[in-house]
């Protein structure tokens, strides 16, 4: 899978972290970014796939891509608000 489809403005590594940290750290990172910027987040928690999707939907951020790669998950989120 082409993982460099999006040019992230920032990358956040949440590897090896369990619920609820990937969501909390993603939220903290997004809060510090400017509108329109893209955050790349990497996680190993399988629960983060649905969690990040739900989080983005609820908080009005755009989940551009959620990809499964070997051993981890990669998310691209655009800050909309």
């Amino acid at each position: 899978m082409d993982s460099k489809k999006y040019m992230p403005d920032q990358t956040l590594d949440c590897s090896k972290l369990s619920c609820p940290l990937p969501v909390i750290k993603t939220r903290t990172a997004i809060a510090k970014m400017a509108l329109g910027e893209i955050l790349e987040m990497i996680a190993t928690d399988p629960g983060s796939v649905k969690d990040i999707e739900a989080w983005a939907k609820h908080t009005g951020q755009e989940l551009l891509e959620s990809a499964r790669e070997d051993g981890h998950f990669r998310f691209y989120i655009r800050k909309l608000r």
């Binding site: 609820p20 969501v23 609820h58």
Partner: protein, 179 residues
């Protein structure tokens, strides 16, 4: 000057749109009661509350009865997992063994080591995240009185109030949970 049906329709539309906008802007709210003081029961309210904060959901936790131990700084580093009458233990222990001295400490140590292995934050970490992200932590006044706990015994940043004050907050909640 009289109001025509058309005027009425316009006014109704304006009001409806305003209301819709206000309702969509209103933050969701969650009210949690934490009533248990064991390690396993301290996690769910704190995980849910910190996640809620990350999801822009306003959240308060009301710590009552044994749940007060979770925000008691003299006790919250030593919360335990009960080994007695706990059939859900990963390694099932007959009650007669679970009642032996040292079994609670062992069960607690085991759970803490499993949690550290998968990097679950500690109770202390979660409390810090909760305070940083604006989760309101509230000690139950009556429990403080019953247990002889002073406000100074509680961690920094918590409030203390009674049932009515918490219910006033909970009355406008979209999610209410009792743990």
């Amino acid at each position: 000057m009289s109001i025509t049906d058309q005027d009425k329709k316009i006014i109704e539309d304006i009001v409806e749109n305003k209301l819709k906008k206000l309702l969509s802007e209103r933050k969701k709210r969650m009210a949690i009661v934490a009533s248990k003081g064991t390690l396993d029961m301290a996690y769910p309210p704190l995980i849910l509350a910190t996640t809620a904060a990350a999801m822009d959901i306003e959240c308060s936790i009301f710590f009552t009865f044994y749940g007060l131990d979770i925000i008691n700084k003299r006790k919250n580093k030593n919360l335990k997992v009960p080994s007695l009458a706990n059939p859900a233990m990963p390694i099932p222990v007959p009650n007669i063994i679970g009642a032996l001295p040292g079994m609670t400490a062992m069960a607690t140590k085991m759970m803490k080591s499993w949690m550290a292995k998968v990097n679950v934050p500690t109770i202390e970490d979660l409390l810090n995240i909760a305070i940083e992200t604006g989760v309101k932590l509230i000690g139950c006044q009556m429990t403080l009185d019953v247990m002889g706990v002073k406000k100074e015994d509680l961690i920094e940043g918590v409030e203390v109030c009674g049932a009515a004050a918490f219910l006033e907050y909970a009355a406008d909640a979209d999610i209410t949970l009792f743990v």
